[in-house]
């Protein structure tokens, strides 16, 4: 049950990036089912328009859409200009958009590495910087950043991705303190693998029992994170087993962890290659 809070008394408008993906849709639905209005952005125009149409119809809310590449500063500006031109003020920003490219550091192109940094780090920071200026000052302002359980560890073969999420996690925690005096909160979500696409489900399956134990449904992750955000909690790790991993991981030296994770990912990779799901490199 959602408790009655100040937020529920004022009309809410939530801006969600990466809204057409599995977790983005789950956040959009969680907000829609509470009767909150939405601004959805994603690269795919047709996908967010489809989602917007059915959320407006099904939940009686107002949904604005703006399809764009968030790494483009001009497009980001256009997005906010459109939102503000309708008289909308934001009460929440959910940075879901994120990316990873399969492969080790040297197997990735320099373009791919740059893209990871720009979408996972540069874009959310820019979004926060502008969104805060267009917040509804009569309400508390909530920011949710989707980091990853990977943010806690140095991860061989996911080095750039995990480090970008580490940046976002540390940044969120620091900003949460900075923003206290202006009645804004920052919450970082650190999920393990999410079963969003058939591709992700295959990857989870390849991890065997560990995959089944660490996986939390997108709907649940979105719900828990939204509740945590309303309570101003800085970090959310959905799933008991994942919190256990986090606790255990915090007791092991980082260097040793990197070695253990490297070995584990190597095994999972091998398994997926032998199943024909990944190309051998």
């Amino acid at each position: 049950m959602n408790s009655i809070r100040f937020e529920n008394m004022r009309p809410q408008t939530v801006l969600i990036t990466g809204a057409a993906g599995g977790l983005g849709k789950a956040f959009a639905l969680e907000c829609a089912s509470r009767g909150w209005n939405l601004v959805l952005t994603d690269r795919s125009e047709s996908l967010i328009n489809t989602l917007a149409e059915s959320l407006e119809r099904g939940y009686g809310i107002r949904v604005q859409t703006f399809a764009c590449d968030l790494t483009d500063p001009v497009k980001r500006e256009d997005l906010f200009r459109q939102v503000v031109s309708t008289g909308t003020r934001l009460t929440m920003l959910v940075n879901v958009a994120g990316i990873d490219h399969e492969g080790t550091f040297m197997a990735q192109t320099s373009q791919q590495i740059q893209e990871i940094l720009r979408i996972n780090v540069e874009a959310p920071l820019a979004m926060i910087h502008t969104a805060v200026q267009y917040r509804d000052r009569r309400s508390a302002f909530r920011i949710i950043n989707v980091a990853s359980l990977a943010a806690f560890y140095p991860m061989p073969s996911k080095a750039t991705y995990a480090s970008s999420k580490r940046f976002l996690l540390n940044f969120s925690m620091a900003l949460n303190q900075e923003f206290k005096e202006m009645n804004a909160t920052v919450t970082a979500l650190c999920p393990a693998g999410l079963p969003t696409t058939p591709e992700c489900i295959k990857a989870i399956d390849a991890q065997g029992l560990a995959g089944a134990l660490t996986t939390v449904d997108t709907g649940r992750a979105a719900y828990l994170t939204l509740e945590a955000s309303l309570q101003g909690k800085p970090v959310v790790i959905p799933g008991f087993f994942n919190r256990l991993i986090h606790l255990a991981g915090s007791l092991v030296p980082a260097n040793l962890l990197a070695a253990i994770i490297g070995k584990r990912w190597g095994e999972v990779r091998q398994k997926r290659v032998s199943r024909g799901e990944l190309a051998a490199v």
Partner: protein, 289 residues
């Protein structure tokens, strides 16, 4: 042989495998005209040509649609209307909402609906409503929905009907099968007075199909493999549905839940008129009807 099926026209969803495929074949053997619906164009073409050859009935046509999307269901309904008109058919004698799915993880469609709810309930609700004029144009149109024993013990949580917040694939499956029965009740309540159309739900029993192994993780897949091996072939529930369609005595019966054409007892929750009305209103909201 049911001669009375000869001049009839039926629509079967999920008709490229399992119960739907068996049902399409059986209806064709009785001489009926059938429109089958499947998700894969390739499987549709394959089923159409094999069944036409095997049953010596050329009046089998397949249409492709992804029933998890409301936009596709609407498009399909319009396409069916055009097709029926082009064939000179004036009424649809029966719609069999057979297509069903199971998902282990919570997957949301592009329209933001949980996949099992989208396919197992909303698609049937939308399709039946969209085709109602065609069903009413037939002498005694039938809406048959394939439910399941899984509905026993289910109760819809109205705070989170699709259980997104605490997902459990099997519980959601049970909820959608309860929804099948509640929808049947809802239709009969609304149609009883001024229409010859009547809705029924069917318990297929445990059937050896692939429903539990499409896109589920290895562990769940294994459990289903063991379970389904004890099930009947899809021909058994299909024969029950054929009998139900052919037998007009059932038409005046108050019972609307059947297993192999014999009355079956549903859960008490499935007979709750208030819940049926609430589900109807919820479906109207989600589908914008």
């Amino acid at each position: 042989m049911y001669n009375e099926l000869k001049e009839k026209t039926y629509l079967v969803t999920g008709a490229t495998s399992g119960i739907g495929y068996a049902l399409t074949g059986q209806l064709a053997r009785h001489g009926a005209r059938i429109i089958g619906v499947g998700r894969s164009a390739e499987k549709c073409a394959q089923s159409q040509s094999i069944l036409r050859r095997d049953t010596q009935n050329e009046r089998i046509d397949y249409l492709k649609a992804d029933l998890s999307l409301q936009s596709e269901v609407r498009r399909l309904a319009a396409q069916i209307g055009e097709f029926l008109a082009s064939q000179g058919v004036t009424g649809l004698d029966g719609l069999v909402n057979n297509a069903g799915t199971f998902t282990y993880w919570c997957r949301l469609t592009d329209e933001g609906v949980e996949t099992q709810w989208a396919v197992n309930h909303f698609a049937g609700y939308l399709l039946a409503n969209a085709l109602l004029p065609w069903l009413e144009a037939a002498p005694s149109g039938r809406i048959i929905t394939v439910s399941s024993q899984s509905h026993y013990g289910s109760k819809i949580d109205w705070n989170d009907p699709q259980r997104r917040r605490k997902y459990n694939g099997l519980r959601v499956y049970g909820d959608t099968k309860l929804a099948n029965l509640l929808l049947t009740l809802g239709f009969n309540e609304r149609l009883a007075k001024n229409s010859a159309v009547r809705a029924d739900a069917v318990d297929p029993g445990l059937v050896n199909t692939e429903i539990g192994s499409k896109g589920t993780p290895a562990i769940a897949n294994l459990v289903w493999k063991l379970r389904k091996s004890g099930g009947t072939t899809p021909d058994v529930p299909a024969a029950g549905i054929v009998q139900l369609l052919a037998d007009n005595e059932h038409h005046t019966s108050l019972v609307h839940y059947w297993k192999n054409a014999r009355p079956q007892k549903s859960s008490r929750e499935a007979l709750n008129v208030q819940t049926a009305d609430r589900l109807w209103a919820y479906s109207q909201d989600i589908c914008g009807l």
